[in-house]
Symmetry: C2
Subunit: 200 residues, 2 copies
């Protein structure tokens, strides 16, 4: 029937990712996924412990993509402030360019979060650690003033998430231009952490 014989496990992930973004979390069911893969629902359990584990696999995938994307954009920058800006910029950019992956991370998570082992997220936190380190160095160079780089980094993460999710969820005021909103939000978030002297 199939030509290249793509493994069922991968098929399930692809179908789920696609259905999740197209039809939303609520209408995602094991039976529907199975039907699209020309298989019975129970077959999914051969590859995933349950529905949550299937979703968690998708989440980890996306978190890894997000981390890598940010690293690719930020690591080339040698100047700390440039890198700081690049991290922020690329976080938002990822959300805008890969909404299906971003949504999997944050929207699905809030639902299947309860059963999700927190430690698992630590592993794919490279982008966060990079931000912490960048802030630390910037503070040493007196380019930034923050009480605690760890806190500052997490605060930025949270603020950016708020900005991105408001856009992706279509909750933006209809009078507001999306691009303008993003651009100005990024600017203000950055400005909230920089010394006046370093603002370009």
């Amino acid at each position: 029937m199939s030509e290249v014989e793509v493994p069922l496990r991968d098929q399930i992930l692809d179908i789920s990712r696609h259905m999740l973004f197209k039809e939303g979390y609520r209408s995602l069911s094991m039976r529907k996924i199975a039907k699209k893969a020309n298989v019975t629902a129970t077959s999914i359990y051969l590859y995933f412990e349950n529905k949550d584990h299937l979703l968690h696999t998708l989440i980890e995938e996306s978190v890894e993509d997000l981390s890598r994307f940010i690293e690719d954009q930020a690591l080339p920058k040698t100047d700390n402030i440039d890198r700081f800006k690049a991290i922020i910029q690329s976080y938002v950019e990822f959300g805008m360019h890969h909404p299906e992956k971003y949504e999997i991370i944050y929207r699905v998570r809030s639902d299947s979060m309860a059963r999700y082992p927190k430690e698992k997220f630590r592993k794919a936190r490279r982008a966060y650690e990079l931000l912490v380190q960048t802030i630390e160095e910037s503070v040493e160079q007196r380019l930034m003033e923050v009480d605690d780089p760890l806190v500052a980094a997490y605060s930025i993460w949270a603020q950016l998430h708020g900005v991105v999710s408001v856009v992706l969820n279509g909750r933006l005021d209809s009078r507001i231009n999306k691009e303008q909103f993003i651009e100005e939000s990024i600017e203000h978030v950055i400005q909230g952490f920089l010394e006046r002297a370093s603002v370009s």
Copy 2:
């Protein structure tokens, strides 16, 4: 059986609000709500069109509470910068002190959002309009520098939501102190919008 004969509709709302916060959205079912109210599931449909409408009623309730809370804190302030800070402070405070209501607004919404008529949210946007107005006046007084008050207000909303939700969802890094995170986040958000001169 009951003493004061509280109306079933109100009972359903109370039970739902409570269950929603205690056990999460996923395990909230019409039958469970009904059982707690000593009634059959179908009775709920006498007062609410369906599960979504029941949730939407809860959402509107909470949005109204949030708006009123912010107004109560901010309107007494006559100085625009004080009012600006009060709005931001009280938004976060509401989230921290009434997590069950805050979560209803933002967590439940993303799930039953699809069927939620957008216009309905306009009606309870008083707090947002207040923020816009406060920013406008602050800009006129040269206390703030923003390109567009409408955009700035929405950006602040989004940033604050990110901050609050990260805490409520228990996603905060375990090494980070909650109060410190909130306090510093508020400071940075404010700092992102104020002229250097006006920072206390």
